[in-house]
């Protein structure tokens, strides 16, 4: 059972990394556009 839970923890790590990457890319794009607009 613990093996499955350990893998689930790894899965959550990957999920957080994906969330970060998506948000950072979005932010950098939006931020740039906003500054250019200003």
């Amino acid at each position: 059972m613990w093996t499955v839970i350990n893998y689930a923890a790894w899965g959550l790590c990957v999920l957080f990394i994906v969330l970060f990457v998506i948000d950072i890319i979005k932010t950098e794009k939006t931020g740039k556009n906003k500054n250019e607009h200003e």
Binding site: L12, L19, G31
Partner: protein, 465 residues
């Protein structure tokens, strides 16, 4: 924060570099106590191994006096400098760019390493509970999840810290009450059976002092959120003083309950002293509760450390002491997101080393250096701006006594550290010297001195020196 507010404060903060003003005294308390409380669940007990039970208690109170002095000085200087960076901002206006660079770097490493140590402990505890648990994904997960929380907003981050810190602190109180210690008629009798006095004399107290720092290490970080307070002059003194009082009570009852339940020899070598004290009671409810308390204390500490390290890095970047790339705030969450994300792999790298004692020693050494500079800054601050020349949110009483007492106690703590960790100290000094050399040779030329001091210069009269 509107541009009008910024102008009122005499600041020249560019759009995209301003933080949200959403925090109150409760959050300052949570930030300060949250970072520190983990020290009551582990680490402090090495004072007993170094100086015996009485040496530990003496070190605890001497270090408490040191922190009272540090907090008094911090609040006085911090209340007139409502900027991110805490001691960094003070060094900026009082000592100049090179000292500010060093203080900023010391703060970043103090907190980034403490954060790594907290995550390491989370992994170790889980592995100790069940050897089938692989600690690595939980170390990484705890840092990632807390970094994400910090990334999404300071208000939610520190509100969560308030809740988990309160629960962790409550577990200590419940342990004390449920052991019957509060109503015990012969506490002294019980203590005399378990404690071992002062086996190494007064040198033991000096040796114990570096671990006594665990009880309070990081409380000064409450000033790092000054720029994000709704009312800095109210939130900072109230939150920081309440936090220090909480920690002094917590430290004393932690020493008492652990010394009462666990023999000194065992306690001095324990990895989780409060958890071991709960084990001695034999009550499963208390054991589970202290496990939860220890985990929450670690997470609260890591959470506060991410907040503080990123604010220091952000403030340095905004002043061009490091590349200005990190000075950007998130357009939606108003957090210094680039600084927060950049420091994550650094903390992870320290956590991967697995060397808990080395990581913590470097963190403590960096903190002690910041305290030495804080005392020096206080002396200089009062010369530059004597009482009555600028509005202060708080006035530290009895100046220069707090600064002098702090310097004397710091000399003892550094001497104690030298006895056991002189190699680490040498490594730390070399690192900061090399960083200073890089700053002077490669970075100082990018610092616009006029812009650097403009916010202070527009608010205060010309200094006396």
């Amino acid at each position: 924060m509107s541009m009008n507010d910024e102008k009122q404060e005499g600041k020249e903060i560019e759009k995209g570099e301003a933080l949200s003003r959403v925090l109150g005294p409760m959050h300052i308390w949570a930030l300060g106590v949250g970072i520190v409380l983990v020290g009551e669940f582990m680490g402090w007990n090495f004072t007993i191994a170094k100086g015996g039970s009485i040496g530990s208690l003496a070190a605890l109170w001497l270090i408490a006096i040191l922190y009272i002095m540090i907090i008094m000085m911090n609040i006085e200087m911090g209340s007139v400098m409502p900027e991110a960076g805490g001691q960094y901002a003070m060094a900026k206006y009082i000592l100049g760019p090179l000292a500010a660079f060093n203080v900023g770097l010391m703060l970043v490493f103090e907190y980034a390493m403490l954060e790594a140590a907290d995550a390491l402990v989370v992994g170790q505890i889980l592995h100790a509970v069940n050897p089938e648990i692989n600690s690595l994904p939980y170390i990484i997960l705890s840092l990632l999840a807390l970094t994400y929380l910090n990334y999404r907003g300071v208000y939610a981050t520190l509100t969560l810290n308030f809740v988990i810190t309160l629960i962790a602190f409550a577990t200590i109180i419940v342990l004390v009450v449920s052991t019957g210690l509060a109503g015990e008629g012969s506490i002294a009798g019980g203590l005399s059976k378990m404690t071992d006095g002062l086996p190494y004399g007064f040198i033991g107290i000096a040796a114990a002092m570096q671990f006594g720092v665990w009880f309070f290490l990081g409380i000064e970080g409450s000033t790092l959120a000054a720029e994000e307070c709704r009312s800095t002059s109210r939130a900072l003194p109230t939150g920081a003083i309440a936090g220090l009082a909480t920690l002094m009570i917590g430290a004393t009852i932690t020493w008492l309950v652990c010394s009462y339940l666990v023999p000194a020899k065992e306690l001095g070598a324990s990895a989780y002293p409060l958890f071991d004290a709960a084990l001695k009671t034999g009550k499963s409810v208390l054991i589970v509760m202290m496990f939860v308390g220890t985990m929450l204390a670690c997470l609260a500490s890591a959470n506060g450390c991410i907040n503080d390290a990123s604010r220091a890095w952000f403030a340095m970047s905004r002043d061009d002491l490091i590349p200005s790339f990190f000075a950007k705030t998130h357009p939606k969450y108003n957090t210094p997101y680039r600084a927060i994300v950049f420091l994550l792999p650094i903390s992870l790298a320290f956590a991967f080393t697995g060397m808990l004692d080395q990581v913590v020693t470097f963190s403590i050494f960096s903190a002690l250096l910041v305290y030495v500079l804080t005392a020096i800054m206080m002396i200089r601050f009062r010369i530059m701006y004597p009482l009555g020349t600028i509005d202060r949110g708080y006035v530290a009483p009895g100046h220069p006594v707090p600064a002098i007492v702090a310097l004397i106690l710091l000399a003892f703590a550094l001497f104690g550290m030298y006895l056991g960790y002189w190699v680490n100290m040498l490594g730390g000094i070399t690192f900061y010297l090399l960083a200073s050399l890089w700053f002077v040779k490669r970075r100082e030329k990018f610092v616009d001195k006029e812009k650097f001091l403009k916010a202070g210069a527009s608010r205060w009269p010309k200094p006396h020196i």
